[in-house]
């Protein structure tokens, strides 16, 4: 039988058993109560307990069994697994109904089960992180068995070239070079351009909104800025490639410079627009939580409003502002669609932003969408690049959290 059919069968039988458990349990509880015994819980609660004791262990056995099946290969036929979990369900049904006794705390038992289920749900987020780490690291390690880590980190030529031939058994793949320096140079170039756009505009907008703007402007401007963050990145990518890049080429041509249509400036600027709201919204919150006594003190000493903002408010809010910029930077480093659509494909180690250059995320996408074997060094290199990306963004996020925590402790604000 097919897996879906087995799954369907399992669910139907379990549902039926659950219904049986509910009604039998409730009937028995009602009977016990009618006989005059004082019970610890309501009939419905006994019924629900019976349902839980029927379904819970059976689902657990089924899930663990299928996991083992996947991990160890198909040693147990799925039919046996189905039968085993249904037997467990029937046993659970019997136990659940037998537990309908006046001195059994059904409500507390349900409470315990629910607590376990909720804990299980909370564990999924941890599993996700471990899943990401595990999947990236295990594939990256296979890559580093083929090519040295040192060469990957310090090499200046990225040329996967013939590696797919090696995977297919032809050639030895010796021509392939995986030096990631040009990729990271491109990534940091585009990120730097993005931050050059986003940090001044984001910070100044935040200053205007928190220090100058009347309430009405604030209530309009904040959601309007949030719209910038809600636009899908694939749309920004199209905008960068079709509209902004030709403008950049024309402007460069006007000054007698030669710009590529895949230049780094266009994706950089558009990415900067995208991260403006991340920076402005966090900076806004931070500036708002600088205590008013500092502003009053400064104004009382005869400073103008502008001087107060520049010399008192901003220095006080600096840890928070840096934290916002770091968050924006981590966004920009991991951003994929804008660079895939607007930046180049050629690994290019250059300091000229008007040339085409490629980024880490572009290479990840390029090496996973081709027709190569999964085992080839080029495909696996995507995971090695992903690992570095993960480490860099994780570090940035942690530093950002630490900075904002320091700010919070200094001024004892709780709303950040």
């Amino acid at each position: 039988m097919q897996t879906n059919q087995l799954l369907l069968l399992f669910c139907t039988v379990l549902l039926l058993l659950g219904l049986v458990a509910f009604f039998v349990g409730r009937a028995k509880a009602a009977r016990v109560r009618a006989s005059g015994a004082a019970m610890y819980a309501q009939p419905d609660q006994y019924a629900w307990f019976a349902v839980l004791s029927t379904a819970g262990p059976a689902v657990l056995v089924g899930a663990l069994g299928s996991l083992l099946l996947l991990l160890l290969g198909a040693d147990i036929p799925p039919m046996y697994l189905l039968a085993a979990s249904l037997v467990v369900a029937a046993a659970g049904l019997a136990v659940g109904v037998a537990q309908v006794k006046p001195h059994f705390h059904a409500r507390q038992a349900i409470e315990r089960v629910i607590r376990w289920v909720l804990t299980g749900a909370a564990m999924i987020s941890i599993f996700t992180t471990f899943g990401i780490l595990f999947s990236i690291i295990s594939e990256a390690l296979r890559f580093f068995q083929m090519h040295s880590f040192w060469e990957f980190i310090t090499g200046t030529t990225w040329n996967p070239g013939a590696s797919f031939l090696a995977a297919a058994g032809r050639g030895d793949g010796s021509g392939a070079q995986f030096g990631s320096v040009p990729l990271f140079a491109g990534t940091f170039m585009i990120t730097a351009i993005a931050l050059l756009v986003a940090v001044p505009i984001g910070l100044l907008s935040a200053i205007y909104m928190s220090e100058y703007a009347p309430q009405r402007v604030r209530t309009i401007a904040k959601p309007v800025l949030e719209v910038l963050a809600g636009i899908p990145t694939v749309v920004y990518g199209f905008f960068a490639a079709i509209t902004v890049a030709p403008i950049i080429v024309n402007i460069a041509g006007f000054f007698g410079l030669d710009a590529s249509y895949n230049n780094a400036v266009a994706p950089g600027i558009v990415m900067g627009i995208m991260i403006i709201p991340f920076i402005s919204s966090l900076s806004d919150d931070v500036i708002n939580s600088v205590p008013d006594s500092m502003r009053q003190g400064s104004l009382a000493l005869g400073m103008t409003k502008g001087e107060t903002i520049r010399d008192v408010v901003i220095p006080a809010a600096l840890p928070g502002i840096i934290s916002a910029a770091l968050l924006g930077m981590s966004r920009a480093l991991g951003e994929t669609m804008i660079v895939v659509m607007a930046a180049g494909m050629r690994p290019n180690l250059t300091a000229n932003p008007l040339e085409d250059m490629t980024t880490v995320t572009v290479r990840i996408v390029a090496s996973l969408t081709g027709d190569q074997e999964f085992e080839s060094a080029e495909t696996l290199s995507a995971f090695a690049l992903g690992l570095v990306l993960f480490v860099v963004t994780l570090t940035l996020n942690l530093v950002s959290v630490l900075m904002i925590r320091r700010f919070r402790e200094k001024y004892r604000v709780n709303n950040l």
């Binding site: 749900a121 999924i124 987020s125 907008s205 899908p232 079709i242 991991g334 992903g386 994780l394």
Partner: protein, 388 residues
């Protein structure tokens, strides 16, 4: 050295001018951000709106015996370069379904090629001067016209520009979102309930909290790598399927829903919990019957916003293979499908001029869906928000 009053008041004036300048600069920054937004939308509208119209040619169609083998034979010879190549298959198919039509003829609006379409819209095209003259003549008599583009909303992807539509991507998006919501909503809400209402304040809880905040900031493409390595390669979920894409996006949406739900739960005042505990409710009864119903509008708002975010996501879906060419609407969660952002990405890579318009048209559809979802979330919050 002392300054005269004049010098001091000069200095004061300078300081105040400087102060005013900061105000104008910061206002300008905000204005610049707004200007970007306006320019962006104007650009998308001007590029995308023409996609909702398509050139059609009104001509006589002769349903002859030969036409049921090659649809092109149903038309006048001189019109053939202007009529879409799709007729080759469309006309025979129509005749096979309605054999009684063979031998008749009718006046019909037929789909023109994308070159005619682009010419009528004033874009770059590859028509010869005679063909242009021919079209101009027919436009004057009303035989060639721009009409509402049914194909764009009613069919799937195609390599023939005028025949490409967004329907299969819309269906794929809906299916992927169903999977995403079914997984991330229950798990996210349960996690948030655990953290807010049940969890003791210990190392384990702190670990989960740090983890969730960290997951929210991980680049989306890394979720794609997880989906590829674990869901597809390890668990054997079919590549390119809404199931694989939906599961990957669910993990991405999870932190958004958890954070929104926690905020909503926290905004329910403790007095409600105290009252419920006071009349003897257990912890789960307090949550289920009192806290959760009050927090529901906030949870819904957060989930809708999270879903809208997932709907616009492309990078992880490219990694799990959802950029396939899907001409037909798929009906199964395990078949290959594509989603709207991925369709936009595919079209943006097509070299033909007509696809630029399709891409922008697809973007307009996607943006209007996202904006209405977000607006709905805001309305929901405004309507049900309670200040305690």
């Amino acid at each position: 050295m002392s300054h005269s009053f004049d010098e001091i008041s000069q200095q004061l004036k300078r300081r105040h001018r400087k102060s005013a300048r900061l105000k104008w600069i910061s206002m300008g920054a905000l204005g610049l951000a707004g200007l970007f937004l306006v320019l962006f939308f104007a650009d998308m509208l001007s590029k995308g709106l023409p996609a909702f119209q398509q050139a059609y040619i009104n001509t006589e169609v002769r349903y002859t015996e030969e036409a049921s083998r090659d649809g092109r034979l149903a038309f006048e010879e001189e019109l053939l370069p202007l009529i879409s190549r799709t007729v080759v298959r469309v006309i025979p198919l129509q005749l096979r379904n309605n054999p009684e039509m063979i031998g008749t003829s009718e006046q019909r609006w037929m789909l023109a090629t994308s070159e005619v379409d682009q010419y009528l819209k004033g874009h770059r095209n590859r028509l010869s001067d005679e063909e242009k003259a021919e079209i101009d003549e027919r436009v004057a008599t009303g035989q060639v016209d721009l009409r509402f583009n049914k194909t764009f909303f009613g069919s799937g992807d195609s390599k023939i520009a005028e025949n490409a539509g967004i329907l299969s991507a819309v269906v794929g998006t809906i299916m992927t979102m169903i999977v995403t919501l079914l997984i991330s909503f229950p798990i996210g809400v349960m996690t948030a309930i655990y953290l807010e209402e049940f969890a003791p304040d210990n190392r384990f809880t702190q670990l989960i909290e740090i983890n969730i905040n960290n997951l929210a900031a991980i680049p989306s493409i890394l979720f794609g790598l997880l989906g590829l390595a674990i869901f597809i390669n390890f668990f054997g979920v079919p590549r390119s399927s809404p199931l694989a894409g939906g599961m990957t996006l669910a993990l991405m949406t999870l932190p958004v829903i958890i954070i929104a739900t926690r905020t909503a739960l926290r905004s329910v005042p403790d007095s409600i919990r105290h009252a419920a505990f006071g009349v003897g409710c257990s912890r789960w009864q307090v949550v289920r019957d009192h806290v959760l119903p009050l927090a529901m509008p906030g949870i819904m708002t957060g989930s809708i916003i999270g879903l809208a975010q997932a709907m616009g996501e492309t990078a992880p879906l490219i990694i799990v293979g959802m950029v396939a060419f899907i001409p037909d609407v798929s009906a199964s969660f395990t078949q290959a499908a594509t989603v709207m952002p991925a369709q936009i990405f595919t079209w943006s890579g097509e070299p033909e001029q007509a696809f630029v318009e399709k891409t922008a048209g697809g973007i307009l559809v996607l943006l209007s869906v996202l904006i209405s979802l977000n607006a709905f979330a805001v309305v929901l919050r405004k309507k049900f928000e309670r200040r305690w």
